[in-house]
Symmetry: C2
DNA sequence: GTATGTGAACCACTTCACAGCA
DNA sequence: TGCTGTGAAGTGGTTCACATAC
């Protein structure tokens, strides 16, 4: 159980969780690495190796107990508990994030919403009062959110990220189209659909007629 | 110019484009791999190696001409032209995608919107009439969209993806939380903020107090 | 003098293949 | 017998370091 687990491995664990959750809901007791791999487009060996970083969760000749493995993965990823998040940027994108129903069922709750635009401040969106970005630091002392979501324009994103880091946030989900700088103890993941599209067009650029 | 360019390389090109676009707007003529790397959190050697797959765009002793390199990258990625996309799923998430202002400036246009829900069909959202999923195949013959965006619930996502593939779509941006199966000639990229969050909590799970 | 382009060396992740256990 | 767990082998990507060009 070495201390150096590749980040790619950690990135795969949530997809295992997702697939196992489906299996559990279907009432499946056991699954083997072959079947799980088939569903996810991952080789069976990959799955077994990934899991072996954390322990021995399977039974030879049978496979993995779905419920047991799911619990272990929850534990490993730290998603047995609820996580509080603050959102910065309550424009069109920010509102969509606030309204997104996919976070809550997985234990991620948005507990604060902030914006620079004084027009938005004071407004109530999805049950949350939008606060001024200026009060972020003091509000954060109450909220104690460990996660931040950034949904501001590129121009102000780095500044907002600095404020979140300053306020003690340890992980950031960044929707702004910038390569942000954060201290080494802070995690950041970018969500940028345009980048995804731009890399896919490379592979299909010869095919199909232009409009 | 080998035929086997690593996918990771292709995935980085759009971030180079993004950074170079900013530099161009600032009126910068030249940039070297050191500076560009600093902005992006990528080593200078990485950038040079990545670019070397496609040609020699730099000048020794000087660096890269910003405008020239940007044009080359646009060409490589196939983003000199406009791309048409169809959206399937006009729920809360789909509406947010339709309203998202980040696609159009990069040349990605949503030209069709579809839904299973007959209540949504016929409605006009962001200037587009929502059509029934049933007419997707025939509509696609007119629209000739090469890209598809999937914003339907997990339960129907694979089915929708199959239909898009059937209709000739060659790349899919998938917002549904599933590991979809597509033929080898079809590209797919997933956007799932929950997965991003769940992998970050691994690293921060010891820190901070629970609510 | 300075920064690119690139083989070679290095490192990290994936896959293999089989011993070991249920 | 069947499938896990895992060292060892293999593969692919990154970094080095320097010849090359401006």
């Amino acid at each position: 159980m070495a201390l150096e687990i590749p980040e790619v491995v950690i990135d795969r664990l949530p997809i295992y969780v997702r697939a196992l959750t489906v299996l559990e809901r279907q009432g499946r007791d056991v699954v083997n690495s072959q079947e799980l791999g088939g569903k996810l487009g991952v080789t069976p060996a990959q799955i077994r190796k990934d899991l072996s970083y954390f322990g021995r969760f399977g039974k030879q000749g049978r496979g993995y107990n779905v419920k047991r493995l799911l619990e272990e993965l929850h534990q490993i990823l730290g998603i047995t508990r609820e996580w509080s998040m603050v959102l910065v940027g309550v424009g069109q994108l920010g509102r969509a994030i606030l309204g997104y129903g996919g976070f809550a069922p997985q234990g991620f709750r948005i507990v604060g919403a902030f914006d620079v635009d004084s027009a938005a401040v004071g407004e109530r969106v999805d049950g949350l009062e939008v606060k001024s970005i200026d009060v972020l630091p003091e509000e954060m002392r109450q909220l104690r959110a460990q996660l931040g979501i950034v949904a501001v324009p590129a121009a102000s994103a780095q500044q907002v990220i600095d404020m979140l880091v300053e306020s003690g946030v340890k992980a950031i989900l960044n929707y702004a189209p910038i390569a942000a700088h954060v201290p080494p103890d802070v995690r950041i993941k970018d969500i940028d659909p345009v980048l995804a599209l731009q890399s896919m067009t490379f592979y299909i650029k010869e095919s199909g007629a232009a409009p």
